[in-house]
Symmetry: D2
Subunit: 353 residues, 4 copies
């Protein structure tokens, strides 16, 4: 019962090739704009397979507002052929991006054995270089320059054969120093349970990213997903400064496949903004009939309805409505568990329409 978002479209305008961007309707939280972001991607400057300009055009077509180029700092398998400085991918893409109204974030991925594993440094200034490459020295220098530090794929099977994300001493140390600001709960098709709790406890941002090396079109063609995984950031305005501030304050949700994951304080108003219940549109002798609209591009699966006189479950497809009926003699509330919105390990959002 999947619905596919629309495919990417290109057009020529005069002699320039401009990408046509998809307008994805997600929800909103009052007072904020929702920025659709991917904080983890690679280019040929480390082990990715595309040039930085392609990564930008792809992000526009995928409907993103912001993308970080985060080539590995230490892992450079193409170095026999591709010789950039740390800043090269960003420098190549910067002007190209601005002319497409995308926010481009300079980043890099610190690539170490576990522990500490891989961490992204985001919002690096153009000029930064890392001479002292010991792990903590790199982190410290970046943090001093204002970087946002994200722990990537904490249970990555290549580093944790059982696939279970575990906090180790070094991660606790980073948190204590204030040097860790976010953790990926989702990376390249894999969801990491436990991350939600760590982020809630330590007040970190929950993020979800593609870690794309090839193309997102290729990844989507091998799944039934209609959109690339993304971090939704709730910023006061659509610019890099506000995006960065919102990220440091942890105002995020993660959208991957049909699932949303994040803190209840953001999930609750976000989902409420997507779903609209009207007054009764019809009644017969036994029932009142109500129209429920899903205004967003995200499906919602409502289960475990608590009203015995109303449907037990409702599946709301993206941009669709349904009419449900409630027995007249019963209460007229519609309260459900939203089975595809995770707010904790094993916990799902509850809503009343």
């Amino acid at each position: 019962m999947k619905r596919h978002l629309l495919s990417l479209v290109f057009i020529f305008l005069g002699c320039s090739l401009f990408a046509q961007g998809r307008l994805i309707h997600t929800g909103e939280i009052p007072g904020y704009v929702t920025l659709k972001c991917d904080f983890h991607s690679h280019t040929v400057f480390s082990d990715g397979e595309v040039w930085p300009t392609f990564r930008v055009r792809e992000a526009v077509q995928d409907g993103l507002d912001a993308i970080a180029l985060t080539d590995h700092l230490e892992y450079l398998p193409h170095k026999k052929y591709v010789k950039g400085e740390d800043n090269s991918a960003f420098a190549i893409a910067k002007n190209y991006t601005e002319r497409r109204d995308l926010i481009l974030i300079r980043g890099t991925e610190i690539t170490r054995k576990m522990p500490p594993g891989h961490l992204n440094l985001l919002f690096l200034p153009d000029s930064i270089t890392f001479e002292d490459t010991t792990f903590l020295a790199v982190i410290e220098k970046a943090v001093n320059e204002g970087a946002f530090v994200q722990w990537n794929h904490p249970g990555w099977k290549a580093q944790q054969p059982d696939g279970i994300a575990r906090m180790m001493d070094i991660h606790h140390e980073l948190i204590e120093k204030g040097w860790l600001h976010g953790i990926e709960i989702f990376n390249d098709g894999v969801f990491y349970p436990g991350v939600m709790e760590w982020c809630i406890d330590a007040n970190l941002a929950i993020t979800g990213n593609t870690d794309i090396h090839g193309t997102t079109a290729e990844v989507l063609s091998s799944s039934s997903d209609s959109h690339r995984a993304m971090t939704l950031v709730f910023a006061r305005e659509r610019n890099e400064r506000e995006l960065k501030e919102a990220l440091f304050l942890g105002r995020t949700l993660v959208w991957y496949g049909d699932t949303l994951a994040g803190k209840i304080e953001y999930a609750a108003p976000f989902v409420s903004s997507c779903l609209k219940r009207t007054g009764a549109v019809y009644e017969d002798s036994s029932y009142n009939y109500y129209r429920i609209e899903n205004l967003s591009d995200i499906p919602y699966y409502l289960t475990d309805g608590v009203n015995p006189d109303a449907p037990k479950s409702i599946e709301l497809q993206p941009r669709a409505y349904i009419v449900v009926r409630i027995r007249k003699e019963g209460g007229q509330t519609l309260a459900y568990t939203v089975s595809n919105v995770k707010i904790g390990t094993g916990e799902r959002l509850k809503i009343e329409l």
Copy 2:
């Protein structure tokens, strides 16, 4: 470069089968809601191939707000097997429809040789029957009961071998008597030039309908269209009374394939509500860059740009945006012909973004 609207979706809720309706985003005219309507359809009660309930469910899935069942009054090829009264199809579908929040209009199609050809009587009361079946007697009775009279497919090849719509004496007579209220400019894949001018001159409603006999899914599968043809009616509220009033006042546009057709006074504000130009999002030494968003499910093809320092043409896909650039030294206006919005024979809407 087509984009397909999402496919229809069904779900079971308890023991009832409710259709999930598509929320199509078209434009809006301030002060009105846009009702998506089809004023011409058939069931097994004349020469259609579906039961009235299917026609209703199909309309919900296709995203309509209102549908008229307009079985032929005189042409009843199934009568050996199907014996209804004039009101049967409507009676069967009425309750079924109300439980789905669709507006169901009772109608019938007067089916005569040309002239006068075929005409739909819409908004018939439940009780009406036609004993005197001479053409004018039928029309008069219906009009006296408040019916809206629509002239169908005025250049239908079965009745006009050259396919050219022509007003004949009887049609002029109907207009003079106030007994004709709308004309189909589009019916079942065919657009009829000339109808626009007649409707503007005589202050009639321009309509476009499917005249569906089989299923709309079958028709769409044989074309590259993403939606069924429909009449967009601009009503003060979403109910049958306001729909009827708006139709009598001619507040309509027709959407078929990638094309909109209708009077400029509705086309202009409607299209303006779909397209949004931001302030400059970027500038370099030579250019300012502007973001243009198409918020609707209708594509817009902008051609013949009058600013020599801006793109000559822009193609805006449904729910997509594009960034265009204008030379700084030139004027910053963006004025275009909208090549897929017809406001007269050979005339296209002009807009300034």
Copy 3:
């Protein structure tokens, strides 16, 4: 990872509307042609929602070779409006069908409480009528006229609230008399475990059908399936006589969603005809590389590979190939369980490529 078969296509040829039929590539069993059949469908003549001609056109577009119209014998909710004789739906559709090269089977559905439940009588002669409508009298008369008797949806929840198919005395009696020839293992989205064993034991045909009342397009739009459920019959030639003989001999498989179900003697050669392994196409110092092709429109999911030097599992999409590698020092066999081919309750086909 679904792939959708191509959508239906229509075209006008002169003044006639001919449906364009889809050519579905399934597998083949040497000596037979594979006929794609649906032995259970309804029209407005009982409780269906479409006219018989639509049912035929739909079958052609869905790629079928044969369809049975099986309106209920006793359940006629439309009878206030639709008055046919038992043969009317068939009579209306017969010529229409022949001009489209489809095989049309006259049938009816005996519609009783459980036991015995619902049974289809297939291949009824045009002239048959049932005056004595006691259950066994109807069956006997039909059998005497050569009918194939199919027990429908044996665990239908409306008649078996726990959804479990159970043989009752009357079904055993039918089998003993030779008056039951097939059982639906799949009907309208539901698979009935247990049926496989009964059919193997009693030498009955295993069938799977849509029981379609609305349209198959509507059903498919609410699922991720790319094709309607069907019974594959292995006949010596493509005509009604051979189809009937093959059905009586139980030469069938059932294809629904991504799954095949049926007797191993048909499943094994059928699947083998779909999958082709070439000789090694490449080798390096450690591995031989083999190309595996899936020539059919059915996906195959190979799991539990027994060769430790070859892939544990392989997913073969419809009309696609993959290259797999086997360590040179290991055996070069590729033996798998085909997890989407059911040959018994809990049993899956095993193949060696």
Copy 4:
């Protein structure tokens, strides 16, 4: 009325990512296998946007049998960052390709102003380098090493502002010397009339290629095409040696969008192998009915039927059939122009079914 080929699919097998290749059914010419080829593509080693391995995986998913990497010899805009030798892209991709059963052709694009414009050298040996870079010296050296020389996009607007392909003295000279072996009749969305006649006169191969710099997925998403443009080569076996021989002998057709183009001696048997007419499947008093099958993934549009008692035109969708009728008293031939098969400027293939 487009039908889309199936989307690309990926799967993981153990720890290796293998691309799943699409099996496209085109036609065949007796005695040959049809190899689906693209003889023009770029990587980051010149001005392309992807790494050589991606280009290979993409070709497999697109259903190709062979691909040439043809980075510019002289135009190296990435050279600040990417420093390969002439052979680097090929060397990187070679093993990766062989493990996927694709034929990888080493090539380069000589990139000069017009005349001579751009020419691809194909089937270069690994070791070749070009020290003397004057145009004719490069061509001569390559030809002496066995290269196939293809003139690319002969009417490219960047070099021929009117878009018209013109042979100039240098091209005549190349032909006289035997140093030109093929010309692109189609490149990156553009068809070049006139090329067909030159190739027929001089006995050159007609080719059609993508000249892809970004990704084919991106290009296809901006069109209604279901497949990438390709050259179909009729080789005695599926290997590089036979492919090369067939190309030198000019045994090719070009497939782009819905169109085939090439020499009649290949087009005629190829199209015949796709279309199958059966004997009469039905007859009534007036008509015989024949089934026409299109076994291929290419649509065929038959027009200008010469039999007045048969349909004037027939549209055969990919892998579909249709039933056509012919009046009994008329001749039973079905002879048409195939409007989407170009065999000369303004000439279309004629066939008799």
